[in-house]
């Protein structure tokens, strides 16, 4: 399968804790993009990491990419109730232009 597989499927933590989500894939990629989706809403682009990059930061977000293990992680530090959402990794496969998504991780931040 070309799609990313997020792990865990669901994650529930206390506000202020860090949340880590993982994405694994099986093919060669051009880049990997993380998106957030609030219930019933659109996809919000969070961060893009290129295949030749290993780590990127954006505010409270930290993304890593290990192309040898074909995996990526998204770390949200100091979580807030507003971070409650589903998080998806989208792959741009080499030679393609479309995003291929996994099933997502449903993150719940408890106050």
């Amino acid at each position: 399968s070309q799609q990313g597989e997020e792990d865990p499927q669901a994650l529930s933590i206390q506000e202020g804790e860090n949340a880590t989500m993982n994405c694994s894939y099986k093919t060669s990629i051009n880049n990997l993009q993380w998106y957030r989706q609030n219930s019933g809403r659109g996809l919000v682009h969070l961060i893009l990491i290129r295949s030749n990059e290993r780590e990127k930061h954006s505010g409270r977000l930290r993304v890593t990419l290990d192309t040898s293990k074909k995996s990526s992680s998204l770390l949200i530090t100091a979580s807030r109730a507003a971070d409650t959402a589903s998080y998806f990794c989208g792959l741009i496969i080499q030679g393609a232009q479309k995003l291929v998504f996994g099933q997502g991780t449903r993150l719940t931040i408890n106050p």
Binding site: N31, G40, H45, I92, Q97, L99, Q103
Partner: protein, 113 residues
């Protein structure tokens, strides 16, 4: 900040009817996409559009579907004869140049009864 917009936000239609979903991509973007998400499932690619023609389409995008960029701003998805299984959220996305960083609209929820 520029954003992708979509109309309507919710469309209810009867099986067999035609629907047109509308999108206004970010103005200087060149690549346009439609994705769909059946409730509770993952987001699936439908079609990509570049230089006024389809560049790629999925198995889902059969003869009942068509896309058009009728003017310099709108990008539409038409479903000619809707089926119950077409009920889903439909997302438009666009990107400009570089690394295919795609920006999504808020979606149109299509309900086929």
């Amino acid at each position: 900040e520029p954003e992708v917009t979509q109309t309507p936000s919710h469309q209810v239609t009867q099986m067999g009817q035609e629907v047109i979903l509308r999108c206004v991509p970010i103005s200087n973007h060149l690549y346009f996409y439609w994705y769909r998400q059946i409730l509770g499932q993952k987001v699936e690619f439908l079609v990509s559009f570049y230089n006024n023609e389809i560049s790629e389409k999925s198995e889902i995008f059969d003869d009942q579907f068509s896309v058009e960029r009728p003017d310099g701003s709108n990008f539409t998805l038409k479903i000619r004869s809707t089926k119950l299984e077409d009920s889903a959220m439909y997302f438009c996305a666009s990107f400009g140049r570089g690394w295919y960083e795609q920006y999504f609209g808020p979606g149109t929820r299509l309900t086929v009864t």
